[in-house]
């Protein structure tokens, strides 16, 4: 077995074992309303998600995450760079941003429902509110902390404003920006499900609540499984992005050659 295959085996070993155990125990155990056998959950999963409910529930959820997250990342990096480069602006706005970040985003959902209704706009607004502050704070901290030698170098070589932003400041800050983006992605996933559970007509969160209301516990479990799969897939996708963008950083610190 190659080293790579070994790593794969270790990575997937525990989940596969756990699923196998779940399958066997839930088959053998007496039937319970609250804990249906995995065989039934899998049947429900196939019926609901392969691929009947994809258009009605999965797509709206992913669209909400995608749009809200994109807005947070673009606006967050722009605002963060501005705050990181202008200490006076940073000192002025930092308490406000820190306050918004500390606010549990779920508490803001009712306000967004009143402001923008219960449609896709609301989901995008909630995801943005959940993710934006983390991106801003990480970006501004990273930009303010750029090595003075790097700043001196770009000053003494008279590198233009736009070049400096694109080829010096943002790359120099990128390791910490990416950390913020990773946390923000998790927050986005959590908050869109919360928003959909609170009020919505489509989406995975809506499906979960609907299943609960109709006492469809097997359906609920299938929805839960889907949320897990979606979250895992998104974080794997992010890892691919991170490895690409920060290949130089891993190389610099001797972790791997790009």
């Amino acid at each position: 077995m190659t080293r790579r295959a070994e790593l794969r085996a270790v990575e997937f070993g525990a989940p596969v074992l756990l699923v196998a155990l779940w399958w066997i125990v839930s088959e053998a155990a007496p039937r319970s309303l609250y804990f249906p056998p995995l065989r039934d959950i899998w049947a429900a999963f196939r019926a609901n998600w392969l691929f009947a409910g994809v258009g009605t529930d999965v797509v709206p959820t992913l669209t909400g995450i995608g749009l809200g997250y994109a807005v947070s990342v673009v606006a967050g990096i722009a605002i963060g760079v501005a705050l990181g480069s202008l200490p006076a602006l940073h000192d002025f706005l930092h308490p406000l941003i820190d306050f918004c970040r500390s606010l549990p985003s779920s508490a803001a959902v009712p306000i967004f429902i009143l402001l923008v209704g219960v449609g896709m706009e609301m989901k995008v607004a909630v995801v943005t509110f959940a993710a934006l502050w983390t991106v801003i704070l990480n970006t501004s901290e990273a930009v303010a902390g750029v090595d003075p030698v790097v700043t001196d170098t770009s000053r003494s070589y008279r590198i233009g404003r736009l070049d400096r932003l694109l080829f010096v400041t943002i790359p120099a800050a990128s390791p910490q920006i990416v950390v913020g983006m990773r946390v923000a992605l998790n927050q986005s996933i959590i908050l869109i499900i919360v928003a959909e559970i609170m009020v919505s007509t489509h989406g995975i969160g809506f499906f979960l609540k609907n299943a609960q209301w109709h006492f469809d516990l097997t359906g609920m479990w299938s929805g839960l499984l889907l949320v897990g799969v979606v979250g895992y897939a998104l974080s794997r996708l992010f890892l691919v992005f991170e490895r690409r963008v920060l290949a130089w950083h891993r190389g610099l610190h001797g972790k791997a050659q790009p």
Partner: protein
């Protein structure tokens, strides 16, 4: 100082003082520094550690505003990093951008000039890399290279834009002795090739004598230029023959004595 500009003088430092405001009040680093760098010469600035050599170089480079007095470059008062001047930092590991490949590091400053096309920038960068013997390393990242090679990339980056003046801040302080000697000769060769004015800050007395036409000794508290020593060695230098000339040994003794005297004076004074 008269307003007339001596054409022979590339950089004129006039009554330069620099104070830092730190904990427990003001610290005077430089005071009354007077120094003129002639067009085309190689001038070294030596002094004991903490003498303010780097501060002086940063004032010349326009990275640090003087507290009083000033620096003139071609007669123009320096208020920020001037064009036609390139600075090589001591810490190549931090001054080369690790997210750009070697070629990207060398071309980036060329973009700011705005006069070259992408193809011309690439050609100029490859020329500069070839001049330091690193044409093959263009596609690599700086951190994939050895310390000496990284500093050669930094030299290529500085010379690619064909500056009239090259400033170097302890450029060879963090490489081994053999690499250091190679880099010294490389810089001398490049300077001969492009005919630029060089100001080198170093704490190494031998290096200052070996490389330069003149050596300025910094000392005192606060620091000023205490001695200017002409190095009238033959223009072509060689690590073996130059360094064994009686004149070389005599010169290095004079420079060393000047640095030592000031450093001893500082210790007894403090």
């Amino acid at each position: 100082m008269s307003s007339a500009v001596d054409v022979d003088q590339k950089i004129v430092i006039d009554a330069l003082a620099k104070n830092y405001h730190g904990h427990g009040g003001e610290r005077r680093v430089l005071a009354g520094v007077e120094l003129a760098v002639r067009d085309g010469e190689f001038l070294s600035i030596v002094g004991h550690s903490g003498a303010g050599k780097t501060t002086l170089l940063r004032c010349i480079a326009g990275l640090e505003p003087p507290s009083s007095g000033g620096v003139r470059f071609d007669g123009e008062l320096v208020t920020g990093p001037p064009p036609n001047l390139a600075l090589i930092f001591q810490d190549y590991g931090r001054s080369l951008f690790p997210w750009l490949r070697v070629l990207g590091n060398v071309t980036l400053p060329l973009r700011s000039a705005g006069t070259l096309t992408t193809r011309e920038r690439r050609a100029a960068a490859l020329d500069a890399l070839a001049a330091v013997g690193l044409a093959d390393a263009a596609a690599q990242y700086p951190w994939q290279l050895s310390g000496g090679m990284q500093q050669r990339v930094a030299i290529a980056r500085a010379t690619a834009c064909r500056p009239q003046v090259l400033l170097m801040d302890e450029p060879f302080a963090s490489v081994d002795a053999q690499t250091r000697a190679d880099l010294e000769d490389l810089v001398l060769g490049i300077r001969r090739q492009f005919g630029m004015t060089v100001v080198l800050v170093t704490h190494d007395v031998d290096e200052s004598v070996y490389m330069s036409d003149r050596v300025a000794v910094l000392g005192g508290t606060p620091t000023g230029v205490t001695q200017l020593i002409d190095v009238d060695l033959p223009p072509r230098r060689d690590q073996l023959t130059t360094k064994s000339l009686p004149l070389f040994i005599d010169l290095r003794t004079r420079v060393l004595r000047a640095v030592r005297a000031l450093s001893a004076e500082r210790k007894s004074g403090a």
